[in-house]
Symmetry: C2
């Protein structure tokens, strides 16, 4: 591993974050909430530390696979730690662990919060929380569509035809090109959503914050009751639409903007994504209607669909306490927590494409039993899936389950009940935010012990970076000199 | 599909079951419980129906793969239906669905019961319940080690070197040879256990019934409190040992009896099986010790190990109400419910070998990330695992999860709480018996609705026959004429 090259990139990331910190400082100044200094102080620390690392490091002509893993994982951690400082400095979140928890939860677009009373926090901090989501989402788009395919990780190998070339190719030129295009889409959708929310009656501040959190599939709200605080159904419907878009592969949006609207229809993953949402929606909303949980059909449909799309895309906004709904909602939402968004979206979880591969494998196995000599090929978007991809998916699934199980075991050992342990692990590993039991939609993560919070932060980072990226660093070989 | 060949085999199976029904008739006569006539009547019906099917069907010179699937699935169903008649005839279980539930639960070695008061039933019925386990276990040994490998299903493809030859080879000669050897082991272990239990103070009747239920990893007891009814710790330890042996691949026992004791040590799956039990034991028993749930260390260790081995091997005997234990026990036992026994044992579940393949795949994927050009091969017992096996395992896992999820969704839709729905699905699909929530170790399945019981029976059969065997019959192609 070329450690000095990694250090330099980390320095660069700290520098960029410092610039980003000027935005909440400006918001604090505008609202005169007195927190501006904490952002400026953090920006100064970030800039100083970033500059130091930049000088200590050295530029590498090529960044190889190992360095890529280290940069991605350590980058998310470093920026996450820095992002927690303002709330700690200003005393808005007096406990250091809690402040970092909120920041890591932001940058990983999880949206799990330790705050019971959100509305009493300063405008600067609320803006910064939403902005960490938005930066995190931007990082994920870059990661999923430009970096991970080159590292051979993620569900995106299937789309590799668009990102060709051998693994050791220099990363830089292609990344910046891909990044620009996709960030354009990301910015455009964010602006559209903020405008729509403003038109529907939200304040400009709230509209921007919620647009940030939606497009990143984050879930931090500026209100205690999350999106449920807004009575206008139009706001719910707008957020449903944009959560859905944020959970879709951004390449498809890019193609659609270039006039290729058929890209959606032709994409196997998108169709599967749509089907899962449709089925889950029916399973959740039908009992709501039948048991007359809501007075009107529109309300049952809206709240059912909102929670379905919010959990499936791993956003985590809520308009209703789904723990009070019939038990089938708990079951379906728990499943959706694991599924997650499409590959190449800002959504977390296992990703729809991996489940689709699983489906196709299962179907092909059944048919192979009847025709043992037939050669079966899995097809995805009209292309044959390489056999090794099945092993990759298998390995991912096992790692996911192992971490999931480990989380549940450790949290129950520590005394949490089974449902809360399952909920907290699923909600952090899947980057969702709200879970089940004691971390349900109207609860928060404040009651966890300090070390448990660090464990949950680890889950957020591991889940966000598609497991392999982080776990590979635990292999001693990864750190050997090349 | 050669339907007439299938019909003839089903006739044969009914005939064999009729002969088996003479045993409980004899027990009824010995104990003068007045139920003997119901077994004889059922035997007569089975013999008549069997004879009819035998005549209607025709012998096939060769049984092909398709017929194999149909025989296995329909065989378990037909025999299960017949086996429910005695309890229904005698009025011991007045409801037909309940009587069949108990029988299917027996033949699939699940051990889920609808009986609240077991001890008040006749000796004949109690003996028949245990005997259905033992027959079912015998069928499973035959199925797993002789039939499924030839059909290309199950975790046993890895052991195929011992069962060579192309798929369309005539099944008969090899099956009978393999069956004789393994049934020898099965009978021997049953006799040994019954003798040990008798020596430890059980009545001969109870000793035989519990030996039947242990070796089949069934779990029906003759006592309301299951094995917990026996105060002598020796009885608990004896059953722990034999449950462990019943969850092991029977081929290993056969090799050990022929002097090759090293076979255990050399078997990757066996070592993994041992490790999982060891880890689960520590995770469950340590909190029992620390929280002083039991007065002595021996008791904490014994009850912890008993429940661990019982659930892991999918037996389902209990000596304690584990729902009253610390939450970590619920989490660990829920995981063990999915794992199950070794391939080629009488245990159900996903099977240890499949998880081992998953583990190896995950590890190889992590290493591939660092060495993208290296050719990675998965090794099992010193042999390279064919690449297509990974797809097979992947498909199995997805089908398992899909049925699991479907079960939870349907049961919660019907109004059961999440934990009970998870518990009931896991316990029937994994052929365990007791689950969580309302189907915990001191509860039973009587409170489920009629159609829910049939659904659970379907899960038992699907889980028992390794999913593919049953599900392949839902493909229209399976029924096409050849």
């Amino acid at each position: 591993m070329n450690k000095r090259a990694v250090i330099r990139v980390l320095g660069f990331l700290l520098g960029v974050t410092s610039i980003g910190l000027l935005a909440p400082a400006l918001v604090s100044a505008l609202y005169r909430d007195g927190d501006g200094w904490s952002f400026l102080a953090t920006a100064a620390i970030g800039a100083a530390l970033g500059g130091l690392l930049w000088r200590l490091g050295s530029s590498a002509r090529e960044i190889h696979v190992r360095e890529g893993f280290a940069v991605v994982t350590l980058g998310w951690l470093t920026v996450g730690l820095l992002g927690g400082l303002p709330a700690w400095f200003s005393g808005q979140i007096p406990c250091f662990t809690d402040a970092v928890f909120e920041s890591i939860s932001g940058f990983t677009t999880t949206g799990a919060s330790i705050l019971a009373d959100i509305e009493s926090r300063s405008h600067g901090l609320l803006f910064w929380r939403s902005l960490t989501h938005w930066f995190g989402g931007m990082g994920i788009v870059l990661l999923a569509l430009a970096i991970l395919p080159l590292l051979g990780v993620g569900g995106m190998q299937l789309f590799r035809a668009e990102v060709p070339g051998p693994l050791h190719e220099r990363l830089t030129p292609r990344i910046s090109q891909t990044a620009k295009l996709l960030w354009g889409v990301y910015v455009l959708l964010t602006v559209l959503e903020a405008a729509a929310l403003r038109l529907a009656g939200m304040s400009l501040f709230d509209a921007i914050c919620h647009a940030f959190a939606t497009m990143a599939t984050g879930g931090f709200s500026t209100r205690n009751a999350s999106v449920g605080a807004y009575a206008n159904p139009a706001i719910h419907w707008i957020i449903i639409v944009f959560m859905f878009l944020a959970g879709t592969n951004f390449t498809l949006h890019y193609l659609a903007l270039r006039g290729k609207l058929r890209a959606y229809k032709r994409d196997d993953e998108f169709r599967f994504y749509l089907s899962v949402i449709a089925i889950a929606f029916v399973l959740i909303s039908l009992p709501l209607v039948l048991q007359q949980v809501y007075p009107t059909l529109e309300q049952a449909a809206r709240h059912g669909l909102f929670q379905t799309v919010s959990i499936m895309t791993t956003t985590g906004f809520v308009t209703a306490d789904y723990l009070l709904w019939p038990p089938v909602a708990h079951a379906v939402l728990l499943v959706l927590m694991a599924v997650g968004g499409c590959a190449g979206s800002t959504g977390g979880g296992i990703k729809v494409v991996r489940l689709l591969i699983l489906f196709k494998a299962a179907k092909s196995e059944l048919q192979k039993l009847l025709h043992p000599r037939a050669v079966t090929t899995l097809w995805f978007n009209g292309r044959a899936v390489p056999a090794q991809l099945a092993t990759n998916v298998l390995g991912f699934l096992l790692l996911f389950m192992l971490i999931y199980i480990a989380g549940i075991v450790v949290l129950t050992l520590s005394g949490h009940d089974l449902l809360s342990a399952v909920g907290a692990t699923a909600a952090t590993l899947g980057n969702i935010g709200p879970g089940l039991g004691s971390v349900g939609p109207v609860e928060n993560y404040a009651h966890f012990l300090g070390w448990e919070k660090w464990l949950l932060m680890f889950f957020m980072v591991v889940g966000r970076l598609e497991l392999y990226t982080v776990l590979v660093l635990f292999l001693p070989e990864a750190w050997r000199r090349t």
